[in-house]
Amino acid sequence: MDRHFEEISVALYCEVDHDPVYRVHSYSQKVGTAERLSFIRDAMAVLGDLEGSGDAQLRFSCGHPHEVAVKRVFLEACKLETGADLTARPSETLDKKSGLTMIVQPDDDGIYKVAATGDGKNADRRMKVVAGGLAKLGEMEAVDDTSVRFPCGARHDALVGLLLVRAPNVRAILREDEAQASRGVLAAPSQQN
């Protein structure tokens, strides 16, 4: 439900033609809906490293679906007000739990390594947690305890920057997803709290 535009319902559809492409859609007839959807598409393109395709569709340049990651990109794009500044997120973020700055560096083979700088504590443990968070949020593969890569092997730096913001506390994200998924499910009286 889009809290930035009259609580219209916005959905992300996957359409498979040659490669999987994504369409942002709403059934709302309200004036301004088309503009809102257009902004969300633009935001997804910048934040998630997606490119425009065909008729108002989006795709990853590598041609892979990256289904879990694209849902995250969509949800993050929907959190922005129309007109918000659209810049790709940097590859570093403050880890509030430890006080460290977590940095993700890609190499030419598409492997993203997590490193920590600063005066905080438990650096090894936190690096593993962040790598685990990236793996979960982006459906990335673990190369080792602190390195991950996308299954397609390609680099998607902007996408990793976006996921990195949430990776140190992936529980909060999953909690949000679970709460969202359980809304609108009608339970029999005996099943209600």
Partner: protein, 254 residues
């Protein structure tokens, strides 16, 4: 070896004969009831029958006669609940009957709990207990909690239908070293695994020992889920909790 005929209470003999089918459960219950006092058997029978007035009366009488609170709880109340749990699992009884038995249990525990709390034992550890998300059954959990408290643990009871976040928040808030999760339905068991995963995601897994239990849970399931231990009943839960505390101490000293 004890036999069915060694059990004095006729109702209990009939319950075991008619409703228990698994050999190990039959053997365990015959053993248990044959060595318990007649008054304890009568109490268990009243509990199985959902008769909270009789349970209340017998509990008071037993305590007045000087029988130890722990014995009353183990041999009277918990023993009765064991049969109730089996009948519920086998769909012989349903939720209304279980609610009535739980009410009887509560009537007895109202006299026992104050005694156990006042026992003056030094707290040995802090445990968070809860039934997992989607599961509204708390009888097993409540038995474990009573046993744990009776053994000196400080227990924070999160109740039923507990989310992963509620478990994690409680562990952090109370600085608990132990977490116990209960599930009575095969459909809710996977939530134990999800909770453990949530602890990993939140970087809390190494801070707590996690034990699991409940009628459908097994050691194998517990191992697959990444739990630190499995307790097959309330008594085993206490032993496990103590064992896990020892492990924590060893790890800290290492």
């Amino acid at each position: 070896m004890a036999e069915l005929g060694d059990i004095q209470n006729e109702f209990i003999r009939a319950e075991i004969e008619e409703y228990l089918e698994r050999p190990e459960e039959i053997e365990r219950n015959i053993e248990l009831f044959s060595r318990s006092r007649p008054k304890m058997q009568d109490m268990a029978a009243a509990l199985i029958d959902g008769d909270n007035d009789t349970v209340d009366q017998l509990t008071r009488e037993a305590l007045d006669e000087g029988i130890e609170a722990l014995e009353v709880m183990d041999d009277g109340l918990i023993a009765g609940m064991g049969i109730v749990g089996i009948k519920f699992r086998e769909n012989i009884i349903f939720v209304p009957e279980v609610l009535a038995c739980a009410r009887a249990m509560k009537a007895g525990m109202a006299h026992i709990e104050p005694i156990l709390s006042a026992s003056g034992i030094d707290p040995v550890g802090t445990v968070i207990m809860g039934t997992v998300k989607g599961d509204l059954h708390d009888i097993g959990k409540n038995l474990c909690i009573m046993m744990l408290r009776g053994s000196g643990f400080v227990v924070h009871d999160l109740g039923v239908d507990t989310s992963e976040d509620e478990f994690m928040d409680a562990v952090e808030e109370h600085e608990a070293s132990l977490l116990g999760m209960s599930a009575l339905l095969t459909t809710t068991m996977p939530n134990m695994g999800k909770t453990i995963e949530a602890f990993i995601d939140a970087d809390l897994r190494e801070d707590v020992k996690i034990m699991v239990g409940g009628a459908p849970v097994t050691q194998e399931f517990a191992d697959d889920m990444g739990a630190d231990g499995y307790g097959k009943d309330a008594l085993a839960c206490v032993d496990l909790a103590k064992q896990l505390l020892e492990e924590i101490e060893e790890e800290q000293n290492a």
